[in-house]
Amino acid sequence: MTPVQRPISPHLQIYKPQLTSVLSILHRGTGLALAVGSLLLIWWLLAAANGESSFAAAQWFWGSWLGLLLLLGWSYALFFHLCNGLRHLVWDAGYGFELRTAYASGWFVVGASVVLTLLAWIIGLVVWR
């Protein structure tokens, strides 16, 4: 049955973005980005399993500026989704719903994800063989 087309009230154009809503959609967005990036992770694993030449090609790509950029983005998405996911698990346990607590935990997630990403990359560059 074809749905009747009725006008709806504006929502995204009107509602002021807030930390809560922004982090929520970012959680979904980083999840999707991680899903797409997992394809590349599997490609890297298969390249390693396949032999020297395919692995060398994969490593070359990941060492290129595009590869490093993608890796940086993917790693940030990972740490953000991880930290915000923990925030979700705390909510699932029933804690942290007060507005001030939600904002505090939200800012903590933003900071922690940046710090963890930087940490991982700095350590990675230091131990780079």
Binding site: R28, G31, L32, L34, A35, S38, L39, L41, I42, L45, L46, A48, A49, G51, E52, F55, A56, Q59, G63, S75, L78, L82, G85, L86, H88, L89, D92, A120, I123, G124, L125, V127, W128, R129
Partner: protein
């Protein structure tokens, strides 16, 4: 009678309201895989960082030991299961044309499963082979 349906009323089970038609076990699976992934990912990221710039022999050697190989396989299983559940919710939220939604949901499950198997194959090949 499915064990996980004990949280549902018989009427609820029969009517199957909502875009997903069912969801409690989905909710639990998402949380359980999430907890597993927190632990597995922290280990995996630390391992990958320590392997930065490594050659293939180093990666294969790392996966020869049982613990890294097992943990990586567990990561792939939990990860792709978690991913499939998450993508499922996204499809249900944004796709409302039934003939597009159903194939999309099926493809999501199939592709997630295939990717997990591909990853496990690669890990096992490296663990047991060269």
């Amino acid at each position: 009678m499915l064990e996980h349906d004990r949280l549902r009323s018989p009427l609820g089970r029969v009517i199957g309201l909502g875009s997903a038609k069912e969801g409690v076990e989905h909710w639990w699976a998402q949380r359980i895989t999430a907890v597993a992934l927190v632990v597995l990912l922290l280990w995996f990221v630390a391992s990958i960082v320590s392997l930065a710039g490594a050659n293939r022999a180093a990666v294969a050697a790392w996966l020869h030991a049982p613990l890294p190989a097992i943990l990586t396989v567990l990561l792939l299983i939990a990860g792709f299961y978690h991913m499939a559940l998450g993508v499922q919710v996204v499809i249900e939220d944004y796709v409302h044309t039934e003939w597009v939604k159903i194939p999309a949901l099926v493809l999501n499950k199939l592709i997630s499963f295939a990717l997990a198997i591909a990853g496990i194959f690669a890990v096992l090949r490296l663990a047991f082979g060269g």
